[in-house]
C-alpha cells in the first residue's frame, strides 16, 4: 500500500491506517527534528506534533509534491517555530537557570569534558541562519538529495547548493575559532 492509498483510506474515515504513515516516517521526522533541537525529549514532542498536525491537515495535501516532502515541510516549520519561541524565552530561562545551577553543576561538570567538542559543534550549527540550517539538517541528517531539499524548501537546486556551501564555510569558521585554539 503506497502513501496515496493510505491517505485516501484515512480521509475516507479509516483513522487506524494513519499508523502506517507514522510507522513509516517516524524515524525520518525524528532525525530531522533532532538536527534542529538536539534534545531527545523536545524532539519527541515535536515529532508527535508533526504527525498530529499532518493528520489534521491531510485534507489540504493535494499530492502536487511527494507526501514525504510535504511532511518534511511541516517538520521544518514546527522546528523553526519551536526555536523562535525558545529564543523569545531565552531571557527568562537565563534568569531561572541561575537558580538551578547548583543542582545541575555536578552532572554537567562530569559530562562537560567529553561533551565539549560536541557542544561546540552544536553551537556552531545553531548559529547558522534558518535557511542554511534547514539545508544542512536535511542534507546531513536525512541525506536528502539537493533536488529533494529544493522541493522541501521551495527554492532552486542552485540555491540549495549555495546554502550548503555557505553553511559549510560558516561552520568551518566557527569551529576554527573554538577548536583551533
Amino acid at each position: 500500500m503506497n502513501d496515496s492509498d493510505i491517505i485516501r483510506n484515512v480521509l475516507n474515515g479509516d483513522q487506524n491506517k494513519y499508523s502506517l504513515i507514522v510507522e513509516k516516517y517516524q524515524s525520518n521526522v525524528f532525525r530531522t527534528v533532532m538536527g534542529f533541537v538536539h534534545q531527545k525529549e523536545n524532539a519527541e514532542e515535536i515529532t508527535q506534533d508533526v504527525f498530529v498536525k499532518a493528520y489534521y491537515s491531510l485534507k489540504s495535501f493535494q499530492g502536487r509534491s511527494a507526501f514525504n516532502t510535504w511532511l518534511y515541510r511541516i517538520t521544518v516549520n514546527l522546528c523553526l517555530n519551536f526555536l523562535n519561541k525558545k529564543k523569545r524565552r531565552k531571557i527568562w530561562s537565563l534568569f531561572t537557570d541561575s537558580f538551578q545551577l547548583p543542582m545541575k553543576e555536578k552532572f554537567v561538570i562530569t559530562q562537560m569534558e567529553e561533551a565539549e567538542e560536541f557542544r561546540i559543534v552544536q553551537k556552531a550549527i545553531d548559529s547558522l541562519s534558518e535557511k542554511q540550517r534547514t539545508a544542512f539538517v536535511l542534507s546531513k541528517y536525512e541525506e536528502l538529495s539537493q533536488k529533494q531539499i529544493a522541493s522541501v524548501m521551495n527554492i532552486t537546486e542552485g540555491a540549495v547548493e549555495q546554502l550548503l556551501q555557505r553553511a559549510k564555510i560558516n561552520l568551518k569558521k566557527k569551529l576554527n575559532r573554538h577548536v583551533g585554539k
Partner: protein, 95 residues
C-alpha cells in the same frame, strides 16, 4: 574539522524515537478533540489596546479630580511665652 561534524551528526542520528511514539500519536488522533478556547489574534490585539486606553483614561480622570486649593486667609501665630521672660530680666536689671 569535517570529522567532528560528522561524529556529532552520526551520534544524533543514532538517537531513536520513543518506541511508544506511534501509540501516543494514535491516541491523540483517535481521542475526541478537546476544543481549546484560544483568543483570536485580532481580539487579543483589541483587548490590549482596550486595556491601554482604559488605563490612560483612568489616569486622566484621576488627574482631573485633583484641584489646587488656595487659602487667602493669613494667620499669624506668635509664641509669647519668651516675651514674658525678657520682661523678667528687664525688671532685674533695674533693681
Amino acid at each position: 574539522m569535517q570529522n567532528i561534524i560528522e561524529k556529532f551528526v552520526d551520534r544524533e542520528r543514532l538517537t531513536g524515537p520513543n518506541p511508544f511514539l506511534l501509540t501516543r500519536v494514535m491516541t491523540k488522533i483517535t481521542s475526541p478533540a478537546v476544543e481549546k478556547t484560544i483568543l483570536h489574534p485580532s481580539l487579543k490585539f483589541a483587548l490590549v489596546v482596550g486595556g491601554l486606553v482604559s488605563a490612560v483614561a483612568g489616569g486622566i480622570a484621576l488627574g482631573s479630580t485633583y484641584s489646587t486649593r488656595t487659602n487667602n486667609e493669613k494667620v499669624l501665630c506668635i509664641n509669647d511665652t519668651q516675651i514674658e521672660n525678657f520682661g523678667f530680666y528687664y525688671t532685674i536689671g533695674e533693681e
